[in-house]
């Protein structure tokens, strides 16, 4: 039994806006073991990023962690004082942000930005920190690192900046690295290099990783376990092979169906999920997914299902479960969602995640 590194228990993070309370994270439970790679997937706005920011207590105003515990090696992050949280951030848990173009300070040299991540925690002497900057940049394959460390962010390309961000995240050898869409802003060849790099770092340094993405292909290639989130909740969780082979929640199934695959027959066309994720100030009663679910039954509309065990290490929040859906129903769902999706596309292009998830 692997040792648990991070345990999130019943986390609620809410945004107090003038439109009402947005329940961005609504009772999330998850855990990461030492050295493990966990993928968190879901559409935009389902609470993935806010969950990650909650772990570092960096939820932007007007957001607040309203209840729950975040245990890191048994210490509750939510209860840490200013000094403790400062020591925790960047040292025990580091985060790589979504957009490398805006996540680096434009007026400070790259090397100095990496260096200060180390000097802030006094884990390395100033001299050692300086030499480690070059070492880290070389490790993330920035060519002629010694010179490039003196460059400013605008002199770096997008891929290079993302590498610099990764170097910064790894600088204190954290036990957990949270990567929020680390490859979205990059072109495909650079994406592959970054993924390769992260895999290698996980293997060599034993850094646990929490990968936040809507890209199922990325999860398949990098993660051991997957958490699927929808409307601020965990709807399914399990080992990556099992989730890919037999997803039990219709939402997971739809997400997987929306990834184009070369090896499948061409007649099995892409499925996009009809409709939009719910407004989190006013979520629907019952299962949050029921208005968009192709396999909805009456019970889904009134009563929210609990996370139930559906296989070895696999849980899902559904009354129906995909294994109980007949082949015929699946076939019609595929057909109808295509036509619905086509109509939906005309009205709201944002509703279609099929294209995005395929990249």
């Amino acid at each position: 039994m692997a040792q648990t590194l991070l345990q999130v228990e019943d986390l609620h993070t809410q945004f107090f806006t003038s439109r009402g309370v947005v329940r961005a994270v609504d009772g999330v439970n998850l855990h990461i073991d030492v050295g493990e790679t966990l993928g968190i997937v879901g559409e935009s706005g389902c609470g993935k990023t806010i969950t990650a920011l909650s772990i570092l207590r960096l939820v932007p105003d007007p957001g607040k962690i309203t209840s729950g515990r975040i245990l890191f090696r048994g210490n509750d992050v939510v209860k840490m004082d200013d000094e403790e949280i400062r020591d925790f951030r960047g040292n025990d848990v580091a985060m790589i942000f979504q957009d490398p173009m805006t996540s680096l300070n434009p007026v400070t040299r790259i090397g100095s930005q990496i260096e200060e991540a180390m000097t802030a925690h006094k884990r390395f002497t100033p001299e050692l920190a300086k030499s480690r900057v070059i070492e880290l940049l070389t490790r993330v394959r920035v060519p002629s690192a010694e010179q490039r460390a003196r460059d400013y962010p605008h002199q770096f390309s997008g891929g290079m900046r993302q590498r610099a961000m990764i170097a910064m995240g790894l600088s204190n050898e954290p036990s957990l690295l949270i990567a929020d869409e680390p490859t979205t802003a990059l072109d495909v060849t650079v994406q592959a290099q970054i993924i390769q790099l992260m895999k290698q770092l996980n293997r060599e340094l034993g850094t646990a990783m929490m990968l936040i993405t809507h890209n199922m292909a990325l999860v398949a290639s990098l993660c051991q376990r997957v958490v699927v989130m929808y409307a601020g909740r965990v709807v399914e969780e399990g080992p990556v092979e099992q989730i890919f082979k037999s997803p039990q929640h219709p939402y997971t199934w739809s997400l997987l169906r929306s990834v184009p695959r070369v090896d499948e027959a061409r007649k099995d066309r892409l499925v996009s999920i009809k409709g939009l994720p719910p407004d989190l100030t006013n979520a629907p009663p019952g299962c949050k997914f029921h208005p968009r679910c192709p396999f909805v039954v009456d019970r889904c509309k009134v009563e929210e299902p609990p996370l139930g065990e559906v296989g070895p290490d696999q849980v899902a929040r559904c009354w129906v479960l995909m294994r109980n859906v007949s082949e015929a129903d699946i076939a019609t769902a595929k057909q109808s969602s295509i036509s619905v999706a086509a109509a939906e596309k005309l009205k709201a292009p944002a509703a279609d995640i099929g294209g995005k998830a395929g990249s």
Binding site: L56, L58, P60, R86, D87, F88, R89, G90, N91, A94, M95, F97, D99, T102, S103, L104, N105, P106, V107, T108, E116, A117, A120, H121, Y152, H154, M165, M168
Partner: protein, 342 residues
């Protein structure tokens, strides 16, 4: 000299010593400054041209007297001949240009026998002292209040600071000046039986400076504080500030190294014109506190159609503004690495 492959050889046509100059950072900075100083020549030329045209288009002549009795036609004629005003205007213009090339800015019409250069030299020490002192106060106070308000957004500190800034920006400075005279000179003298009060007029390097400097600096402080606050709030919400927090930096480090280094860039831009505005003087402050500076000299020159004095002060102001802007542009190179000199 070897040509490195692939590198554009910009200095190929220049002698070796000059191309070495253009290649270094300090060299390109020097060239930029020289270029900008040379640009001042056409700028000053057009300032003179426009001022000259406006002056002569305006009604009235330098010899008009306010009140009833006017000078006789013969006297006016002789005066015109003496000061060259009998010649066609384009000729006057070129004569003036010819003179200022020799740094001869002419004689004032309103103060007989005094040169414009002499009058400006008399007034500028007063005005510049006030302006520089005000500037020294404005930068730390304005920036400090703005940063404080932004970091404590929507707290009492923020409301008090911004309330003060709004009030300071709304009251015209003749009201503030007059109010201060009433409170700190008249009433204070009365209440404390002349034990403590501030002098209400004239100029000396002592407590005479307090009220005029405060009057002069309130509006720019308010303006700087509001701008700093807005720019700091904007910076705080940037992604790279979140990155800085995520690294586990202390609040002091995040604010100084990440927030301020970015949020003060737009503030620096406005400090150039602010400085120019301060050292060229304020008619109102100089009038309220009876200070013989050039701000007042300029306005009285316009009123009495003292053509050489108007031109002289306008040229001085335009050069000060051009230099202040040049200083700001050069500072940009040091505070924002993205800025390129061209």
């Amino acid at each position: 000299m070897a040509v490195i492959a692939g590198r554009p050889n910009r200095g190929a046509l220049l002698p070796a010593r000059l191309s070495a100059l253009t290649d270094s950072r300090a060299g390109s900075l020097a060239i930029f400054i020289i270029k900008r100083i040379l640009w001042m020549i056409p700028i000053v030329f057009f300032v003179i041209l426009i001022t000259f045209l406006l002056m002569h288009l305006a009604q009235g002549s330098p010899w008009d007297k306010s009140g009833g009795r006017q000078l006789s036609a013969d006297v006016v004629n002789n005066l015109n001949i003496k000061y060259g005003l009998d010649k066609p205007e384009y000729q006057q213009f070129f004569i003036y240009l010819g003179n200022i090339v020799h740094f001869d800015f002419g004689l004032s019409y309103q103060y007989e026998g005094k040169t414009v250069t002499g009058l400006i030299a008399e007034g500028i020490p007063y005005t510049a002292t006030l302006g520089v002192l005000a500037f020294i106060i404005i930068v730390p106070v304005g920036v400090g209040l703005g940063v404080l308000a932004a970091l404590r957004q929507n707290t009492r500190v923020d409301y008090i600071t911004m309330g003060f800034a709004t009030a300071a920006a709304s009251f015209p400075n003749f009201v503030i000046g007059a109010l201060m005279v009433v409170v700190f000179s008249v009433l204070m003298a009365k209440w404390t039986q002349h034990a403590f009060f501030l002098p209400a007029a004239d100029f000396a390097l002592d407590d005479h400076l307090i009220m005029p400097v405060i009057t002069l600096s309130l509006l720019p402080i308010a303006y700087t504080a509001r701008l700093t606050r807005a720019s700091t709030l904007d910076t705080i919400r940037q992604d790279f500030i979140r990155t800085a927090w995520a690294k586990g930096l202390s609040e002091r480090l995040v604010v100084v190294k990440h927030v301020l280094k970015n949020s003060l860039i737009p503030v620096v831009t406005t400090l150039g014109p602010t400085f120019a505005f301060l050292v060229t003087g304020s008619l109102i402050v100089e009038t309220v506190f009876n200070i013989p500076g050039i701000g007042r000299a300029f306005v009285t020159a316009v009123e009495s159609r003292d053509y050489p004095m108007i031109l002289g002060t306008t040229i001085l102001f335009s050069i000060i503004i051009a230099i202040a802007n040049l200083v700001v542009d050069v500072m940009y190179v040091f505070i924002d690495p993205r800025v390129r000199l061209t």
